[in-house]
Each structure stands twice: as C-alpha cells, then as structure tokens.
Amino acid sequence: MLEALRHFFEHLLALSNPLWLYYPLCAAAAVVYKATKYDDPKTIARHALHFFLWITGGMLVLATVFYILSLVF
C-alpha cells in the first residue's frame, strides 16, 4: 500500500503530468472571483490564496482517497 502511494505521489508531482497546467487556471479563477467580492488588493490576495489552497488541497485529498479506495476494492 505504501509503495503504491509513493508511486501515486511520484506520478502526481512529475513535471510531465499535465495536471500542472491546471494550477494557473485555478489561480486566475480564484483571483477574478475574489476580486468581484472584495475591493482591497490585500484582502483580494489573501482570500484568493485561501480559496486556491482549499480547492487544490481538497482535490489532492479527494484524489488520494479515491486512489486508496481503488486499491482496496
């Protein structure tokens, strides 16, 4: 299981993984979305970073959970 997880993360973090292309898209979407809600640049930056980390972190956790489930079942 640990070996499989190590391979999973190696593949996930590999530079050849096209998933990296989606991070700038997610960052731009977070900035635009938060800029429509707030006016102060510092507030926009703080909330956009928070939003970006929640989405990417949440996706990473979900991917890991689904991968473990696929190993078990």
Binding site: P18, L21, Y22, L25, A28, A29, V32, Y38
Partner: protein, 147 residues
C-alpha cells in the same frame, strides 16, 4: 482600489455591454481602473494561454461535422477577444485538419478559454450590479465591521 462606485450618471447596461466587448472595460467605465486592469489581464491572459497551450486551435465555432461547438458558446462570454481570436483559430484548425482532436493539450487549452468566458460573465454581472445598486455594502466593509 477603495473608491466608491458612482451613484448616478453611469449606466449599468453600458457597463455590462462594455465588459462583454472588452474584459474589464465595464469597471473602467465605472472609474475602477485597478480592477479593470486586473480583470483584463486575467481574462485575456487565460484566453491567450489557452491558445498557446492548445496550439492555436481552441476557439472554433463549428466542429468537423458542422455542429456548433458548445465550448465556443462558453468562450463567447469573453466577447470581443473571442470574436477576434475565432477566425485566427479557425484558420489554424483548417490548416491542421482533423488531427487537432488527437492533441491532448488542446483539451486543456479549450478549458482555459471556456473558463475565461465564464469568468467574464461573472465580471460583467459585477460591473452591472455595482452600478445598479451602488449603496449595497461590500463584503470587505462587512468584514471590517465584524472584526
């Protein structure tokens, strides 16, 4: 970027139309130049990045069978830049032939351009609402009062 939106004089509908034609122009019309630059940079940046990633063939309005591309309808949210990029993209797609659909990066580029369209719709609504309802409290004002 902490200035107020003008309470009268500026037309919300004009801001909506301008924001569709040029991303960020609705906010520039309302005097919010900082936000206008931010929205223009992000939305046009996403469209251009999508074109580069997808090999320039991502903004086409009909597929090889002549059907309207649903992605293109989403991309049209970004208005003017999409209209300008469509003939360029279609020319490049016609030159490349049906092989464009085999390029996996084209899918990523298409998504970039579609998200740019969706985000511009959000920006258009923001420009409209901020001018139509100027006395509505902003979220960061509420946040300051809470803290």
């Amino acid at each position: 970027m902490n200035g107020q939106y003008p309470a009268g004089g500026a037309s919300p509908v004009a801001a909506l139309v301008l924001a569709w034609a040029i991303p960020g122009a609705g906010h520039a019309y309302a005097g919010r130049w900082g936000k206008a630059a931010l929205f223009f940079g992000c939305i046009v940046g996403l469209l251009v990045a999508g074109m580069i990633i997808g090999g320039g063939t991502v903004i086409i309005h009909r597929d090889t069978q002549g059907h309207i591309e649903l992605w293109w309808m989403a991309q049209m949210g970004a208005g003017g830049p999409t209209v300008a990029l469509t003939p360029i993209s279609e020319y490049l797609a016609a030159r490349a032939g049906p092989d464009i659909y085999a390029n996996r990066f084209r899918e990523v580029g298409t998504l970039y351009a579609a998200v740019a369209g969706f985000l511009n719709v959000l920006v258009m609504m923001d420009a409209y609402v901020k001018l139509a309802y100027p006395h509505r409290r902003r979220d960061d004002e509420e946040e300051k009062e809470e803290s």
